[in-house]
């Protein structure tokens, strides 16, 4: 399937040229990302409030999390951000194969992230650290369930965003493979890339706050 057999993409009727479309899409995506930042901000505020009220409990609870797994996950996401941005780079140069490789590695790393998270969750469940009312963990603090409630909520919502990102990357792989996304029109790759970087940035903040402090 080479690009000469694919029809050139038709610009939507209300845009005057491709440049206007690309810039408009970028602004739209940034506005959406601003929204995502505020969405996670509520969780950070909740975290901050309860850490302020229970400093020793939080210190103890974060030691129960495995920082090495968190560290590996952070590295995975950072590498995936790099491969994502290289995917954008390659499609801008029309290098379809390299784009597909980079997108696939990004997808793979995201999967590994979720696998490690699944292992972490399982090990918490084994100790009885369930979210909310099912919490049955023992420890020196009787407010320990608050930390874990927040932990599962924050990492769970983040993982959900990773999952959504993975779906978007699969969709991109499909479109690049079919030739709908090319050097001339790579806007979708750029947009998913921006989203993916935000998912990475949220984790960059979560890792030290949850695991290391």
């Amino acid at each position: 399937m080479d690009s000469s057999t694919i029809k050139k993409r038709e610009l939507p009727h209300y845009f005057k040229d491709e440049h206007q479309e690309f810039e408009a899409c970028k602004v739209g995506m940034w506005a959406f990302l601003a929204q995502e930042i505020l969405f996670f901000s509520g969780l950070f505020v909740a975290y901050g409030v309860y850490k302020f009220f229970n400093p020793e409990m939080f210190l103890y609870a974060s030691s129960l999390l495995d920082w090495k797994l968190g560290f590996i996950n952070t590295i995975f996401l950072i590498i995936s951000s790099f491969t994502m941005v290289m995917a954008v780079f390659h499609i801008q140069h029309g290098e379809r194969k390299k784009t597909l490789i980079n997108l696939s590695i990004t997808f793979l790393l995201a999967t590994l992230f979720l696998v490690i998270k699944a292992f972490e969750y399982k090990s918490k469940f084994d100790h009885g650290y369930f979210p909310g009312m099912h919490f049955s963990g023992e420890g020196p603090f009787d407010s320990l369930h608050i930390f874990f409630g927040l932990y599962f909520t924050i990492t769970g919502l983040h993982a959900l965003h990773v999952l959504i990102g993975m779906g978007l990357i699969l969709w991109l792989i499909y479109r690049v493979y079919r030739g709908n996304v090319t050097k001339e029109y790579f806007t979708p790759v750029e947009m998913v890339g921006l989203y993916w970087h935000l998912v990475d940035v949220v984790w960059i903040f979560l890792f030290p706050l949850l695991y290391l402090l």
Binding site: W30, I37, L38, V85, H93, S143, H197, F205, L209
Partner: protein, 119 residues
């Protein structure tokens, strides 16, 4: 898209290395107890990393106009934290000094030594 500016690979590679180094640094610095500065330092390092992702990976270095979304979001978050903590930090400070300009008998009883627990 003909003629569209493509960010040179070297910026991505440099950012990638910096991020890896800073992540290791994050772990190392967390081992050092800085007392009250622990949280601010962790957030500072994370912010620097996020700054690199935003500036280079997300292209903000070449797109100053989109910075407003980042700053807008950050400003809103700061406001959220600031005012919530103004409330939280000053909880439980019901004035024990009662000002009675007309010296009438108020039906309200002041509970002495009231300290809200907050948790």
């Amino acid at each position: 898209m003909a003629g569209h500016f493509i960010i040179p690979k070297k910026y991505y590679q440099m950012t990638f290395i910096v991020l890896l180094i800073l992540t290791v640094f994050t772990v190392i610095i967390s081992r050092v107890d800085l007392g009250l500065l622990n949280t601010p330092v962790a957030i500072l390092v994370a912010s620097i990393k996020a700054g690199f992702v935003g500036t280079y990976f997300m292209g903000l270095k070449w797109e100053r106009s989109n910075l407003i979304f980042v700053f807008g979001g950050i400003a809103a978050i700061i406001l959220f934290f600031l005012f919530t903590f103004i409330d939280l930090a000053y909880r439980g400070e019901i004035s024990t000094q009662v000002i009675r300009p007309y010296d009438y008998k108020s039906p309200v009883k002041i509970i002495e030594n009231y300290k809200s627990k907050g948790h």
